[in-house]
């Protein structure tokens, strides 16, 4: 073999580490020597005063760049109105103030950081120093002394001799935590009661004589969101989509009325999507039949609040009759009572049963028969 080319290795039966890889006889050396640290290479600034001077100027230059950036940011803030625009290649017309604030504050911070790192790398000492680790444990005497002091303190304050002191102090401190806890729980707001089960379709919320909230169902008209115009059944052509709210929630088309308190909360639950399909397109399933029956001449109304986590399900494809939720791609089939056909939602969208009044306007025949929106603990 080639071992005779390495006489040292051959004679000792050991592969020399400084010779690199070569075929050996498969034996391991008895002991590796600690190779230690590689020789220290001094930097230019360590032995050349001119180099050190240059590094100093570079660091100062970077700190100066930071100052310049800060001044640019302040000038950008005061000198330009927020309406001022300037054209930047690749960005287009952007707000001058925003641009200068961004560049200025960015440079301000970056200059300090780069300067500090450059300083550390060129001028601060870079000799490696070895410091051996010491045991952290205190000596036995120190530990015994500490225990003695603690015990002595307890004796002298008569804490052990007079248990009433101990108990009353503990009670006072324990009780003191209660105001904090009470505030935390109290500021969670009133109990939800049946708020998740009822919507504005059940009627205006009002205080009853028993002090509880009541709603009286009054067949509200379906009106457009956000304009508040009542919808005639004849105006809903096949393929149409109307975004609908119950009348009385938002101001009407003349800007009158509308719920004064809690409008957004009610709107978030009452939003409804109204679609008209060709009545023959509903599927011949129990769901499809019920959907058609609860609608009016192919017009169906469904809650717009996704049963997954409550996003507005508004993406209606009129060719496939799929309703898609933009948040997590839950897809509902309108021809089959909004059954879930894809995605994480577990329940179909609740349907609002509708009919028409004497003047031909669409009205709700009954409120939602189940809670709208995502599942909750008490829903059952």
């Amino acid at each position: 073999m080639t071992t005779h080319e390495f006489p040292d290795a051959d004679s000792a039966g050991v592969v020399r580490l400084d010779e690199g890889h070569h075929p050996g006889d498969g034996k391991m050396p008895a002991e590796f020597e600690n190779p230690g640290l590689p020789p220290h290479v001094h930097r230019m600034a360590d032995h050349d005063e001119a180099g050190a001077k240059r590094a100093e100027r570079q660091v100062a230059g970077l700190f100066g760049l930071s100052m310049l950036g800060t001044i640019v940011a302040m000038v950008g803030y005061f000198a330009f109105s927020t309406e001022h625009r300037s054209w930047v290649p690749g960005l287009g017309h952007v707000s001058t103030t925003n641009l200068l604030l961004g560049i200025g504050i960015g440079l301000g911070l970056l200059g300090i950081g780069l300067g500090a790192v450059h300083w550390a790398k060129t001028l601060m000492p870079d000799e490696e120093v070895v410091e051996m680790r010491h045991p952290m444990r205190s000596s036995d005497e120190a530990r015994a002394g500490f225990a003695e002091v603690m015990r002595d303190g307890g004796e002298k304050s008569q804490l052990f001799r007079r248990p009433l002191l101990k108990l009353s102090l503990g009670g006072a401190m324990g009780l003191f935590s209660l105001p904090l806890l009470v505030q935390l729980l109290g500021s969670l707001g009133p109990l939800p009661r049946n708020n998740l089960d009822v919507t504005f379709w059940d009627g205006h919320p009002h205080e009853g004589e028993d002090g509880k909230q009541h709603r009286t169902f009054e067949h509200p008209r379906l009106v457009t969101d956000p304009e508040g115009i009542p919808i005639k059944a004849a105006d809903v052509t096949i393929g149409s989509v109307y975004h609908v709210l119950p009348a009385g929630l938002l101001p009407n088309a003349d800007g009158e009325g509308g719920l004064e308190h809690g409008q957004l909360e009610e709107k978030a639950k009452a939003a409804v999507l109204l679609m008209r399909l060709d009545p023959t397109e509903f599927q011949d399933t129990p769901g499809g039949k019920k959907a058609k029956e609860w609608g009016h001449d192919g017009i169906v109304a469904y809650s717009k609040i996704c049963t997954h986590v409550g996003c507005p399900v508004g993406l209606y494809e009129r060719t496939t009759h799929h309703l898609l939720c933009p948040c997590h791609q839950s897809t509902f089939d309108v021809t089959d009572d909004c059954k879930v056909i894809f995605g994480p939602a577990k329940r179909p969208l609740p349907q609002l049963k509708i009919t028409v009044d004497d003047e031909g306007y669409l009205i709700a025949a009954q409120p939602f028969q189940e809670a709208v929106g995502p599942s909750f603990w008490e829903r059952g």
């Binding site: 625009r85 287009g92 952007v94 304009e227 105006d235 149409s240 975004h243 009129r318 060719t319 897809t331």
Partner: protein, 260 residues
């Protein structure tokens, strides 16, 4: 000649002459008819031209008589507005079968599109090409338009009008650089997957508001800098991960480097 001359006193000759006279008079009247009749003639000419163009370019999929085939839907009642939108934006004639016809360079000039529109409109009445008064968005209220857009349009087209994905490969196209007339016609006719927003749902004024909103959005630009396609967290996250993390890795490498 002799045969004709010899029969000139034949009892049928009078009747024949009378018929000839009537024919010539009628023909002359038709040829020299006053203006209104000419105009009506031109319109039916346009329909005729539209029918020819339809048979040559559209009937393969939409069927002779535009009643639809397995390849394409019936066009009865879609109206001239739908034709103007589909052909004016180059979506029709479709370049190839697919889940959705993409926007393209129009293959026909305005005159031919109007002719086909007139033909489709003559089959069954539908929404006509809207009046220019509303389609320009002039005088629309961008604030109100924004409210209407966010309720009715933004879930598919994105609140900045940048478009978005639908189910199974379909998508809502971007509304940037779309002629206001076509935006109006799309609302009116509901092309492809898009639902219809007829004049009772969104009045012509409301549609003008929506167009004014889109115009204003476009003119305002992005004062905050790069919009990254206005697509939200996907493109922004991609830039942050690639460039932001790239810079951090570079900085960490520089910090860890030995020597100056």
């Amino acid at each position: 000649m002799n045969a004709l001359a010899s029969r000139r006193r034949h009892p049928a000759a009078i009747a024949l002459l009378l018929l000839l006279g009537l024919f010539v008079t009628g023909g002359a009247y038709a040829a020299l008819a006053p203006k209104p009749a000419v105009a009506a003639e031109a319109s039916s000419d346009q329909i005729q031209q539209g029918k020819q163009l339809f048979l040559q370019n559209c009937a393969t999929c939409h069927g002779i008589g535009a009643l639809g085939t397995d390849e394409g839907p019936s066009l009865a009642g879609v109206g001239a507005a739908a034709v103007d939108f589909q052909m004016g934006t180059g979506r029709m004639p479709m370049a190839g079968p697919g889940i959705q016809a993409p926007r393209n360079v129009p293959s026909f000039d305005a005159e031919k599109i109007a002719a086909i529109g007139a033909y489709i409109q003559s089959l069954a009445p539908g929404p006509a090409v809207p009046d220019a008064k509303y389609t320009s968005g002039e005088g629309g209220d961008p604030g109100k338009g924004g409210m209407i857009f966010r309720t009715n349009c933004s879930m598919c087209h994105n609140s900045a009008g940048a478009g978005g994905a639908l189910t199974r490969g379909k998508y809502a196209p971007s509304l940037h650089n779309v002629d206001a007339k076509y935006i109006y016609e799309a609302m009116l006719t509901g092309p492809q997957s898009m639902p219809v927003f007829n004049d009772m749902n969104l009045s012509p004024e409301a549609k003008a508001d929506v167009i004014a909103y889109l115009k204003t959005m476009h003119e305002e630009g992005n004062p905050g800098g790069m919009a990254l396609g206005s697509l939200g967290p996907v493109s922004e996250g991609l830039v942050a991960w690639i460039f932001g993390l790239g810079i951090l890795i570079g900085a960490a490498y520089w910090l860890g480097q030995k020597g100056a």
